[in-house]
Each structure stands twice: as structure tokens, then as C-alpha cells.
Amino acid sequence: MDTAHLRVFRGEPNEPGRYEEFDVPVEEGMVVLDALHWVQGHAAPDLAVRWNCKAAKCGSCSAEVDGRPRLTCKTRLSDFDLDQPITVEPMRAFPLIRDLVTDVSWNYAVNATIEPFKPPDDVPQSEWRWQQEDIERVQEYRKCIECFLCQDVCHVLRNHETERPFMGPRFLVRAAGLEMHPLDQADRREYLKDAGGIGYCNITKCCTEVCPEHIKITDNAIIPLKERVADEFYDPIQIVWRTLRGRRPGSAAGAELPVLPTGPGGTSDGGSS
């Protein structure tokens, strides 16, 4: 049977970490998380690993494998050269709790600052209608499993001090899902520009590279949001146009409500009639 040589980071805050080596017998189809479980069950019972579903659906087991942010439950040992040691370390952008577990609570605090979905007051839900094509963009963002690998790899969060905080790719994705919801009435552009710090993103696409759900974070979420912020704050033509038409800057761009044939048996012509 093949053997994988794992170099696993061990340590606690305020002490220099160390790497411990483990030889793990390899079964077919084995992933890094399986190897870590083998280590827990046979060699280091107190190895701290955060995991839940082991099916790439909950986003708990994020770590850095050979320096790359990955979900360990989805990283197969067969992708590695087993003659070389495989280094497993915690997500480096966040404070360490112990071994491979980091304190990601900051992310939850950021999330709480985003204005939630705001449906219209004047349209009863029984009349809400929208088409699959209206929500395909939003559904892509909502695939996010909050593994925070994008936050971990984002160089603004990982390497930099900034004057103001930066919300990070995960929450730009959430904001995009709200802003582009066909019925959402809130306008988060000023928030994105100021509190969220969207200008700190310099679209170097590492978040897209590491996303285990294959969300095109940069192209489909961040850039469209940057463009929406530009509409509001950096486009003199649109600003003049809005002023001339009497719309005050800051009013929600998405305030127009869908108007579709309603009632029982009502169908949209969907462009096909």
C-alpha cells in the first residue's frame, strides 16, 4: 500500500508553530481530510481540524495544502506526488486557534453589516413573478458555502494594512446576490464604496482561482459591483443625466418592479410568443 507523508502544522497562538510528520496509508480515492482523520484516530488524537460534512457542502475544512488554499475534503491525495511530503497548514489570513483551526468570527461580523434583502412594500407576495433567467446570476452567488478560502487568499486581507477595513470577496459575492435580486429595493452602493472598501479590490482574481464552488467571483460579482458603484459615483454623464431627470443620486437603481402577466394560468411571453 502507498504511503503519504503529511507535514501538518501544529501550534497554538503566541507560540512558534511546528510541523509534525505523519506517514498515512493511502486508500483509493482518499482525500487530505481522510488522511487527517487517520492521524487523529491513530497518531495524534488531539489534532485540531474543523470539519463537518466531508462532502464539500458546508465549507468547514478549509486549510492550505502545499501553500494553496483548499477544502481538504475535496483535495485528493492522488493529485500529489507521494514521494514528496504534503504540507497542511491552517488558513493564514486568520488568527490561529490551534493546529489547523483558525478564528473566522470576523467574517460573521462583516456579514452582519450588510443590509439584508428588502422586498417591495407595495407588491403582495402572491403577485411576485420572476423568470429563471432573472435569478441565474443570483443563484451562482448563492452557491457560496462560506468556506472563506477567498477571504484567506485575498492579498488585501492576507498581506496588507488598509486605512479602512475591506469586506473581502465572500461578502462582495453576498452583496452582489442582493443587489441583483429582481425584487430587492435596497441600495448598497454607498456601503460598498465606503464601509465595504470595494476600491481595495484590485481584481487580481485569486478568489476566483480558489473558489471550490467555481463561482466566478471576480468577473461575475466584483466587477459588476464595481461598475454599479461607478454608475453612481464615478460617471459624470450618468450623474448629470440623473440630475436632469430629477432622480436624486442614491435612489435604488433596482427600484423598478417586474411587471408580468399574473393570475392563475398567466404565463410570461418570455420572448417566445
Binding site: 488531539d46 457542502k57 468547514s60 418570455g270
Partner: protein
């Protein structure tokens, strides 16, 4: 005010334990009533097992099938549960599920759409009509994210990665929950006027399971220890389709939506074996020929209505699981010990759109492209129908101040749960338990005076118990005990059961409990998974014993409970009887039965002549 000095103590009107669908929904309900709510979960927020739910949430919205109504949903649920369900719960569930689903949409959930722009619904096993509102095959994720965002925006206090190890009880009933922060290992106490348990299931008692490590029966065991009754514990649902290969993902769920979208089950000889296993009394609901089944699938994928009946693969889960088990046992299984599930005859882009996570899961974990070839699947432990006995309307347990909802509560699903009924269960009874806890809490005096007295002796006892595994200098390794426990349950209390196996299981469980009391854990308090496991083991062993005792008592086969030595459903002896497990005076586990409440005539009329 801390009952014990220097102990971190939080006080909330309502404390909810568990932050899956039911826990979040209960917390939102209590918060909306203006109460102070604490939500305690042993993982990060939003990671609960609800994210694993794939197929959809069952609600008779009637967006796809006009003929659907709560009455039909109620009838399907009762028939699926082999009439062992609490009829009042099944009724409330069927009546309120549509409102709960619509509410999710109002809170920002983005369901797939029908051509006329409403919530799309898909067919599922045991449901007479297309009834499952869904988002591709990640409905659970959509649901938990929507509830999570709603809860956070409402200002609920969330205690993440805090494990509860004891409920502190007193004369007033449940008074507090004791546990520890996983990050630091330091103890923490939650005082509450009402406590809601929403801790999910028990799958980790088995070797092959679709459940995550969290599913260790915490709520079942905490409630049992606190004096509540558990019912129907013998009914453990084995999902017919889990992955069987590679070994590391054995048991991982393959959503029923694969069959809902037209997946065909075949054995190694290519035979579509489900035709053989349809129960005679329901055969009329299924297609008679391959051709009719194909017509049904084609109509579905084109969004057309059809008079064709559904394929045999959409039989109830207990039936399909037994069919697959039997095929494999009789030598017609695949090389890895499963059967084939094939959806690759449909257009690849349709499969990828309707089943995106299944496509990814097989491609990345098993090197199988499900648009090109069949999957290999086999039964996997999935869900426990049994749970804490609750009042249907309020979720109140038999312990005052203690409520339960979701998978850890019993009664709703009877002997077998229909797919899609769990997500709606979470929403309907989550909200109801939240409301029940709210009215219990507001009936107490306001402010500090309303909190029941917490007995410091019990708290100190819980603190000692917490430290014990770390302080022992010798003892048993928790991982080894867990492996042995899982082997026992898998081989002796699995899909098919016999008296001798169950007796043997009880003997082995007694030995495991002994070992569990001597468990010794290496390392310190900070995020120590072995230490976590020490408490989960205690809960798992309690729950396993409840399953084995209930299974031994019920000398018939019904729903998910199949006795080889009693293969018939024995309505005369067992119809309308729930198994009940409770702690006896001497601390041992006592098992008995109790009759189902009388079903009101108007509901009985819905069930037809037979019942």
C-alpha cells in the same frame, strides 16, 4: 447572575440549542416576539447538517400540479409513515408548509422558477404530485443561508462552536444548559426561561452514513437524561442511494432528486429491478412499463404535463433501500457492492443544470461523469424518524420549559419519512417550537425573577464531568470506542434486524457504555476533537441503546423497521402503538409502548377506508 462564581453565564429568555433549519427558525420566531434569544451551536453558523439537504422542501403550493392540496400532502405523509405518524403533526405540517416556504422567499431565498414565474416544484418518492420547492440540488444550503441571514439581521445572539453537555433541571423543569467553548475548552452556562432542542439526528452511530460528525444524538440524549421521553426510536431511515466508492466517501448522499429527475436503478445484469419490489397495494400509482416511465421523464424534463405515471424508482425510501440491499445480498450487486443509478440517458446539459452538485461530487470525488455513465449507489444511514416526544402544537416535551423541533423531535414522520418532508418539518415545527418556547417564557415573571433557580450542585457536577476525560491518567481511547460502536450498530441494528442480533447488540452496548465511562483523552482543552468525541460517545451510546431496545420490542416489520424474524406488518398487535423510551427510577433505560392519539374523523376521512 452566575449560580457558580467565576463561571461564564449568559441569560436569555429563550435559548435554542442547534443552529440548523429548525433551530434558526425557532430562534427567529422567539426573537420576532421581542424576546432575548441565544442560539448555541457546536459548529460555525451556517454549517449545520441542513446544508446537506439537496432535493427540496415539500409544500403543497400547487404551482406545478393544480390538484395538490394540504389534504393530499397529509395523506401521502401518513401513508409513507405507515400510519404511525402523529396525525395532528402531519396535519399541521401539510397545512403550514406552504406559508413557511413563501416566507423563505420573502426573506430572500431564490427558488427555481416555473415558466409562469412562480416557485418550481419537483416530484419525489412517495409524493403524489410534484411538490418539492427547490434550488437545483442545493435546497438546504439556500434555506440555511436565508434563515442565517434573517437571524443575524434580527439581532439574535449566536454562540458558535459551543457544545452543550448537560441540561440542568430542577423543580421548574429545564433551567439551564451547560457546556463549553470548543476554542478554549472553558465552561459556559446558559440560563433560560425556555430551552429549545434542535440538534438533529444520530447518524454517527453507524459506520455507513450520510451524516456529519455532528449527528451524535445530542438532543435525544440530553432530553432523555433530563427526563423526557423518546418515541419511535427503532425507525432509522436508510437512504437508498449513498455513494459506495471510493472508500473515503462511502455513505455520502446521492440525492433522491436524481431519481426524481428520472434516474434508473439497475443491477449488475442491467435489470431494472425496482419493478419487482413495488408493493402490490400501491402498484397502481406507478408506471406499468418502461415506455410509460420514459414518457413521464420526458414530460418532466420538457416541463409538460402528462398522464403517464411515475417510474418505480420513486417508491418510498424504505422500500427502495431494502430492494437495493436485497439485490446486493443476492449477488447481483456491482463490484464495489452497490447497484447502478443511471441518469446519463438525459441530455448532459439538462443533468448539469438540474443536478449540479451531484455532477461535481461524482466528478471530483469518484472520477465518474454522471452525464456519461451510471453512478454506483447503496443504502446509507440518513435520518431518524424517532425522537423526543413533543406536543404537536407547541413542540413542548414532557419536561416543563423544554421544547424540541426538527429531526431530534419524534412523531411527525411515523415509521418512514418522505423525502422533502424534513425541510418542511424544520420550518413548520421550528416556528411552532419557537412560539411554544416564547409563550412559556412570557408566562414567567419578567426580568431576573423569571429565570428558574439553577442548582449549583448540578452545575458543579457538570463541570467535574466535563474535566474528567482529560484528568484520567489511563482509560479507553474515544476513537476506538466509536469504531466499535459503529461496527455494532451497522452489523446488528441495520436495515434488517433479528432478535438474536438485537440481544447481542444490547450486550455489546452495555460493554461500550462501561468503556465510555472510562474514556481518557490526550491533549488539552483547546479545540480538542478527542474531547468533543468523549461527550458525543455518551450520547451516541444512549441513542443506540434506545434504537436497539425499541427495535427489539417491535415484533413486526413496518416502514424503515424490518424484522427478518417478523416480516409482516402486524396491525392487530402493533398498529397505532408508539415505542416509548424513558429513564427509569434506577437510571436504567425502560422501554414501553403508548397508543397514538385518536385521529379526528375529518382527518380519518382523508386517509380512506383502510385506516
Amino acid at each position: 447572575m452566575p449560580p457558580v462564581t467565576n463561571l461564564e453565564t449568559h441569560s436569555h429568555d429563550v435559548v435554542v440549542i442547534g443552529a440548523g433549519g429548525a433551530g434558526l427558525r425557532a430562534a427567529i420566531e422567539a426573537k420576532a416576539a421581542g424576546l432575548s434569544v441565544g442560539l448555541v451551536c457546536k459548529s460555525l453558523l451556517g454549517k449545520a447538517h441542513t446544508v446537506m439537504a439537496e432535493g427540496g422542501v415539500a409544500a403543497a403550493l400547487g404551482n406545478v400540479a393544480d390538484a395538490d392540496s394540504w389534504q393530499v400532502h397529509f395523506r401521502d405523509t401518513m401513508a409513507g409513515g405507515k400510519y404511525l405518524n402523529n396525525a395532528r403533526m402531519a396535519q399541521l405540517h401539510a397545512m403550514e408548509a406552504p406559508a413557511r416556504v413563501n416566507e423563505l422567499e420573502r426573506w430572500g431565498a431564490v427558488f427555481d422558477r416555473t415558466p409562469d414565474g412562480r416557485i418550481l416544484q419537483r416530484p419525489f418518492g412517495g409524493h403524489s404530485h410534484a411538490r418539492l420547492a427547490h434550488v437545483g440540488d442545493r435546497t438546504g444550503l439556500e434555506m440555511i443561508r436565508t434563515l442565517q441571514d434573517r437571524a443575524v439581521a434580527a439581532g439574535i445572539d449566536v454562540y458558535m462552536e459551543a457544545t452543550i453537555t448537560r441540561l440542568i433541571t430542577g423543580r421548574a423543569g429545564a433551567t439551564a444548559a451547560f457546556g463549553y467553548w470548543r476554542a478554549t475548552g472553558s465552561p459556559i452556562l446558559f440560563r433560560a426561561k425556555a430551552i429549545v432542542l434542535a440538534t438533529g439526528g444520530i447518524g454517527k452511530a453507524y459506520e455507513v452514513t450520510s451524516n456529519s460528525w455532528e449527528y451524535s444524538g445530542d438532543g435525544h440524549a440530553l432530553a432523555y437524561e433530563a427526563g423526557a421521553e423518546l418515541i419511535d426510536m427503532e425507525f432509522v431511515q436508510f437512504h437508498p442511494t449513498g455513494m459506495v466508492w471510493p472508500p473515503g466517501v462511502r455513505g455520502l448522499l446521492v440525492t433522491e432528486a436524481v431519481r426524481g429527475e428520472g434516474g434508473i436503478l439497475r443491477n449488475k445484469d442491467g435489470e431494472r429491478f425496482m419493478w419487482k419490489y413495488l408493493p402490490d397495494e400501491r402498484r397502481g400509482e406507478y408506471a406499468a412499463t418502461d415506455e410509460e416511465a420514459t414518457r413521464w421523464v420526458t414530460a418532466l424534463s420538457e416541463g409538460r404535463r402528462t398522464d403517464a405515471r411515475r417510474p418505480p424508482e420513486l417508491s418510498t425510501r424504505d422500500n427502495v433501500a431494502r430492494a437495493i440491499y436485497t439485490e446486493v445480498k443476492e449477488g447481483r450487486g456491482t463490484p464495489h457492492g452497490g447497484v447502478y443509478l443511471d441518469i446519463s440517458y438525459l441530455p448532459p446539459e439538462h443533468v448539469r443544470r438540474k443536478l449540479p452538485s451531484m455532477y461535481e461530487q461524482f466528478k471530483e470525488l469518484a472520477d465518474v461523469d454522471i452525464t456519461k455513465g451510471p453512478m454506483e449507489v447503496g443504502p446509507t444511514t440518513h435520518y431518524v424518524m424517532g425522537g423526543i416526544r413533543v406536543e404537536p402544537d407547541s413542540g413542548a416535551t414532557t419536561v416543563p420549559g423544554l421544547f424540541a423541533a426538527g429531526e431530534c423531535a419524534g412523531g411527525m414522520h411515523g415509521a418512514n419519512r418522505l423525502g422533502g418532508n424534513s425541510l418542511s418539518d424544520l420550518l413548520v415545527f421550528g416556528a411552532r417550537a419557537g412560539a411554544g418556547a416564547t409563550s412559556h417564557a412570557i408566562n414567567q415573571p419578567s426580568g431576573e425573577a423569571g429565570f428558574p433557580h439553577v442548582d449549583p450542585v448540578n452545575v458543579r457536577e457538570a463541570t467535574r464531568e466535563l474535566a474528567a476525560p482529560l484528568e484520567r491518567v489511563s482509560g479507553d481511547d474515544p476513537y476506538a470506542i466509536q469504531r466499535d460502536l459503529q461496527a455494532t450498530m451497522q452489523s446488528l441494528v441495520g436495515i434488517f434486524r433479528v432478535q438474536a442480533d438485537l440481544d447481542e447488540a444490547l450486550t455489546q452496548l452495555a460493554a461500550l457504555r462501561e468503556r465510555g465511562q472510562r474514556v481518557q483523552v490526550a491533549g488539552g482543552r483547546s479545540f480538542n476533537p478527542g474531547w468533543d468525541l468523549a461527550f458525543e460517545l455518551r450520547n451516541l451510546i444512549t441513542v443506540s441503546e434506545a434504537i436497539a431496545r425499541s427495535a427489539r420490542q417491535r415484533t413486526e416489520s413496518r416502514g424503515a423497521h424490518s424484522r427478518l424474524d417478523h416480516p409482516e406488518t402486524d396491525d392487530a398487535r402493533w398498529g397505532g402503538l408508539n415505542s416509548v423510551v424513558a429513564r427509569a427510577e434506577d437510571g436504567t433505560m425502560a422501554v414501553s409502548t403508548s397508543s397514538l392519539p385518536t385521529v379526528p374523523d375529518e382527518l380519518r376521512a382523508l386517509l380512506g377506508t383502510a385506516h
